[in-house]
Each structure stands twice: as C-alpha cells, then as structure tokens.
C-alpha cells in the first residue's frame, strides 16, 4: 500500500511536510518509523512518536492506507 505520512517541525524541515511511503499490507507503526528513519539517514532528528488518526499509537498498531498517520517530534507547546 501507499501511505501518506504527515511530518512536523524538524522532521518536516528535513523531509517535507508530507512523505509517501510504500509499505507491505499489514504494516504497523514500527514499519512506518523504520521506513522514515531510513529516509532521514545522516540527518540529526529527534526520536518521534507516531499518531494514527490523530491519537498517539503504539509501535504494534496496524496501519491501513486510509489512516491519517503523523510523525510527532518532541512537543514543546505551552
């Protein structure tokens, strides 16, 4: 499947605000992270969390092509 992933802050600066990933069916959050970490090789980026449909997700959360998936670098609101 092709998955559109939203990026923010330092990750968006490095890779753009949206990245298209080709992932096998049955991919999970950890696979999204692996694929993106590979693309960011050599760039110094903070370890992010992943949100699926606007909620924080665990590494083993399954992903489908229609999910809204986002990379969440360390937050700094307030």
């Amino acid at each position: 499947m092709t998955l559109s992933v939203l990026l923010f802050a330092s990750w968006a600066d490095a890779l753009g605000s949206t990245v298209q990933l080709d992932l096998p069916a049955g991919a999970r959050v950890r696979d999204v992270l692996s694929a993106l970490t590979e693309r960011a090789a050599g760039k110094s980026l903070p370890k992010p969390l992943v949100a699926v449909n606007q909620r924080y997700a665990r590494p083993d959360t399954p992903i489908s092509a229609t999910d809204e998936v986002a990379i969440i670098p360390p937050v700094a609101g307030g």
């Binding site: 923010f8 330092s10 980026l45 903070p46 986002a70 969440i72 937050v75 700094a76 609101g77 307030g78």
Partner: protein
Amino acid sequence: MRSAIVDHPLDPTALLAEVASTASGASTLFVGTVRRVNEGRDVTGIDYSAYDAMAERELADIVGEAVAQFGTEHIVVEHRTGTLALGEASIVIAVSHARRAQAMDAQRYVIEQVKKRVPIWKREHYADGAREWVGV
C-alpha cells in the same frame, strides 16, 4: 469548558471573564509568555506551529479530564500559533472553582498535560540570527 488553537493574540482578561461565576470562590489565570533568554541564549521571538486537528482534540481531552477530575465546568484554554514576539502570550488557561485548592490544582494539571501531550512545536529565533526547534 472550551479550548482552542488560535492564530491571533490571546486576551487573558476575556478568558478570565469567560470562567467567572458567582458559584466560584476562586479564579486562576495561567499565561505562558515568550522569554528573553532560554538556556543562556538571547531569544528574539518564537514560531509556534501545530498539528492543528490533533492539537485541538488533545487540548479538548485535557480540559475534559480536568473538568471531571477537579469538579468544575469553568475551564477555558487557548493556545496561540504563529510568530510571537518577546513577552507575548502563547497559552492562557483560565479556571474558576468553588474552592481555591481545586482551581489551582486544575490549572497545574492543564499546563503540565499540555506540555506533555499537545502536538505543538516551537522554533526559537536567536539574536545571532539562528532559528532552532526546541526540545529536539
């Protein structure tokens, strides 16, 4: 209760008025502002950006949790995004409650949870021209 991510200057006085109630014995206001110095560097401004939809939902969740946990409907929070100058407010949290201890506890709960969970980022502008994401 109400929460919002907004892109215009915040008005603490308006939020304080919004939570006012003759059922309340105490109102509190928390205002986060842009500091001149952070970790020893001279700051000239901050860009705040958000994952808007998720930030609004997460902020609404936090306010809902505080309403349930501390027992008041009178909690209003606004977080600003965009470019802020020194001294400008990035967040305003207004709470009123029959009892002062719970008003202060709710205030603290909301700001601590916002810092942990709401997908908002800030990039500081420094006097030397550099710009860096904070918390990276």
